[in-house]
């Protein structure tokens, strides 16, 4: 099988996984809207929770995977690892955008503010910006090999940075109570909501995997296209 066929196959499989995940998402929402009780204090706004929390989890997963693959790249120097890492980063950025939009939509009715600088939000924001920087840096470098190496270095640095930012912001916050209506600390969820949430997390993990497969297949196809175009010339 040629590389292209493999990539196409992967894309098909990625499509299936994504489809499954979306079906799952629909299921989660039927469950959330029909079978899960409306939260007492937050009302219907809370329904966005089943997107927001899992999407946050999936984007963190995506960045973590990118960081680990970056580390792997520096040892293996394999182009495929680089392509997989950047695919994960891009999916992560897309998922973070979803997280950073659903968060405020929810936060406004619940906390009475669009944004609060708590540890989790802030470290995720910095992480998001860092990966935007990662993608911008890639865009600015033309040599494929240099691009892979440099972005891998940034990926590794980001991986190590996150715990530091988290601790920093956490300390900054906890030592001085924040002026928000409600603190975004994890509340204990009633069983049904928790089950719904866990299912949703599984669904979004699947969605991440599906996206990653699709994006990686696309990256490989682009790479193959470049190589073929190049062969025509030689």
């Amino acid at each position: 099988m040629t590389r292209r066929d493999k990539a196409l196959q992967l894309a098909r499989r990625g499509g299936i996984v994504t489809g499954l995940a979306i079906a799952g998402l629909v299921g989660v929402y039927i469950r959330a809207l029909v079978y899960t009780p409306i939260e007492r204090f937050q009302g219907p706004a809370q329904k966005i929770f089943y997107v927001h929390a899992p999407v946050a989890w999936a984007s963190l997963l995506a960045f973590a995977v990118c960081g680990l693959l970056s580390l792997a790249y520096l040892f293996m120097r394999d182009r495929r690892v680089d392509l997989l890492a950047v695919s994960s980063a891009e999916v992560g950025v897309a998922l973070s955008v979803a997280m950073l939009t659903t968060g405020p939509i929810w936060g406004k009715p619940i906390w009475g503010t669009w944004w609060t600088w708590d540890a989790r939000l802030t470290s995720t924001l910095f992480l998001f910006l860092l990966f935007v920087g990662y993608l911008v840096l890639r865009g600015a470098l033309s040599d494929l090999e240099v691009r892979a190496r440099y972005s891998a270095a940034v990926g590794v640095m980001a991986l190590v940075l996150v715990p530091f930012i988290h601790v920093t912001v956490y300390w900054f916050r906890t030592l001085h109570p924040a002026p928000v209506v409600m603190k975004p600390e994890s509340p204990s969820l009633p069983g049904v909501m928790l089950t719904t949430l866990l299912i949703s997390i599984a669904v979004f993990t699947l969605l991440y995997i599906g996206f990653l497969m699709l994006r990686y297949a696309l990256a490989v196809l682009e790479d193959v296209k470049l190589e073929e175009a190049a062969h025509e010339l030689s």
Binding site: W114, W115, V132, G133, G139, A140, H176, P179
Partner: protein, 224 residues
């Protein structure tokens, strides 16, 4: 003639930025980062975020704008293309207007995109006042860009443009930035317009005086 040249130059500058978008994306991310860093770079027990907000907004715009301004003439320095402009029939006025227009668009877009984020982050949302705020931003930006364009044309001749531009420019930014900060907090605190006229007229006259002055002096800078 002047218009043709100015339009050609502004168009070319924006085409260069549009081509890669790297600089634009970077300036935007930079603005967001500065907003965030300034939030944390304070003693939270003593200073509330809301009180700091007007200052933060203008410090952010200043630094993000300075980055953009620097680029506009670095592009001309790369291969000494400024010499090419000077040899062309484009008048100094055309070069000045073209550069100013390109810069205003660049800086303006960065400002307008980061404004909602500022509102979000510092929780100052008073949408009703937005038109007034945008007016103030526009006025301050014109002052900033006009003086900045003149000065960056001067420093680009040295090997130190990236450090000398802020040094020369910052003193000139004191009146517009202070006015803008004063106006911003009044706007955010929903004060009556009467309380703002003083600062507005200061800002406005600074705009007019320095735009014209920069335009006139640019001639002396660019022609040998």
């Amino acid at each position: 003639m002047t218009w043709r040249g100015a339009v050609a130059i502004a168009r070319k500058d924006l085409a260069i930025e549009w081509r890669t978008k790297t600089a634009f994306m970077s300036s935007l991310v930079f603005a967001v980062l500065v907003l965030a860093v300034l939030f944390f770079a304070r003693d939270a027990t003593a200073v509330s975020a809301f009180d700091m907000a007007p200052g933060v907004l203008w410090v952010t715009f200043t630094f993000a704008g300075m980055l953009g301004l620097n680029r506009a003439f670095l592009v001309e320095r790369e291969n000494r293309s400024l010499d090419g402009l000077r040899l062309s029939p484009a008048t100094p006025t055309a070069i000045f207007l073209g550069k100013v227009a390109g810069n205003i668009v660049f800086v303006g877009v960065v400002e307008l995109v980061s404004l909602p984020l500022f509102v979000l982050f510092y929780d100052v949302a008073i949408w009703r006042q937005v038109p007034l705020l945008i007016g103030v931003i526009a006025m301050a930006t014109v002052a900033f860009v006009a003086v900045g364009t003149l000065l960056s044309a001067m420093v680009v001749r040295t090997r130190f443009s990236e450090v000398m531009l802020p040094v020369l420019l910052l003193p000139f930014l004191v009146p517009p930035i202070v006015s803008a900060v004063q106006l911003t907090w009044r706007i955010l605190a929903d004060r009556p317009l009467a309380e703002m006229t003083g600062w507005l007229s200061l800002l406005g006259s600074f705009d007019i005086v320095f735009f014209i002055l920069s335009l006139l002096l640019f001639d002396a800078i660019i022609t040998e």
